[in-house]
């Protein structure tokens, strides 16, 4: 039994080989870009708009509201594209698990590690953009310089947790269905797949919310900094 779609090589040419993870990642990307392009093709401020554009607007507005609530204000709009893309990518790749023959790219540790590393890079990026390099690095030394190793270890461990959590949940969902197919193939796999839909949605939400919480913490620290120095 395979626990990751990485070993499933679909196309090979010399040294190049494309495994299922890469192919299905491209499929999700293509789907998202095509849907967004088709929905916003004839968009205009005035006049009637299509149902697709309205649906997309509702999705973006919903994500923006969540991001604003977590970041506590309008400053979250800067990371809306990043967090929203993470959410939509993970959501689509999880929910398409219902399509027969689909291997969710999030069920591979390579994809989830890449996404988690994106978050680990985005946290200092937004933090530095808010307060400069010096202001961002200052939080590693607070409250004392002895805490610096612990800050670094916590950033590494939360990146690892982000990757393994998503991978473990999605991989376990498809694996439980596979085991149930061997034991009780009639009805129970369907129930587990319905549960898998819910877990896929929750995990996409959790991944995006955790990314936003980490970024918001990095941004908010910079705002607290001058007050601490004043006192």
């Amino acid at each position: 039994m395979e626990i990751t779609p990485d070993h499933l090589v679909l196309w090979r040419w010399g040294f190049l080989q494309l495994n299922a993870t890469v192919i299905f990642t491209w499929a999700v990307m293509l789907l998202l870009v095509l849907a967004a392009w088709l929905a916003t093709r004839k968009i205009a401020v005035e006049g009637p708009r299509s149902a697709w554009a309205t649906a997309l607007e509702a999705i973006v507005a919903g994500i923006r509201n969540q991001v604003r609530e977590i970041s506590g204000g309008l400053q979250g709009d800067a990371c809306l594209p990043f967090v929203g893309t993470l959410f939509l990518f993970i959501l689509v790749s999880n929910e398409l698990d219902m399509v027969p023959g689909w291997h969710a790219p999030t069920g591979s540790l390579s994809t989830t590690a890449a996404l988690a590393i994106c978050v680990a890079v985005a946290v200092p990026f937004f933090g530095i953009r808010k307060a400069g390099l010096k202001g961002y690095l200052h939080h590693y030394l607070s409250p004392t310089a002895f805490m610096a190793p612990f800050h670094i270890v916590s950033e590494i461990s939360r990146t690892l947790a982000l990757a393994v959590r998503l991978f473990g949940n999605i991989m376990s969902g498809s694996m439980v269905v596979a085991i149930l197919l061997a034991l009780a193939p009639l009805f129970f796999p369907v129930l587990m797949q319905v549960l898998g839909l819910l877990i896929g949605l929750i995990q996409a939400y959790i991944f995006a919310v955790l990314a936003m919480v980490y970024i918001a913490a990095a941004i908010r620290r910079q705002e607290d900094l001058p007050q601490e120095q004043k006192q």
Binding site: M1, I3, F167, S172, I202, V209, L210, V213
Partner: protein, 96 residues
């Protein structure tokens, strides 16, 4: 019993113990967190949105411990590095 049998026995036993004990702690923690959140929502229904969002984040944090145990159990059963090493050695020596 030769070494490959012992590797099989210990891998399966270790994965069972890992999953079994690893599920107890997160289950207790999640139950406690959920109970607290429900009583908080019952007291302050207006804050249900922010409470349930924080609850989801907290549950994800707690659950990741159980997920670590699960991933290690799965690796021990389906992608065991020690087992693969033994099999490679047996195949390399030309059969059992």
């Amino acid at each position: 019993m030769d070494s490959s049998t012992w590797i099989g026995i210990t891998s399966i036993a270790a994965s069972a113990i890992c999953m079994g004990i690893g599920a107890v702690g997160p289950a207790l923690g999640e139950a406690r967190a959920l109970g607290q959140a429900l009583s908080s929502i019952a007291q302050q229904p207006d804050e249900a949105g922010s409470i349930s969002r924080t609850l989801f984040i907290g549950l994800a944090m707690i659950e990741s411990i159980a997920i670590y145990c699960f991933v290690i159990s799965i690796i021990l059963i389906f992608a065991n590095p020690f087992w693969n090493h033994t099999i490679e050695k047996i195949v390399g020596n030309g059969g059992v």
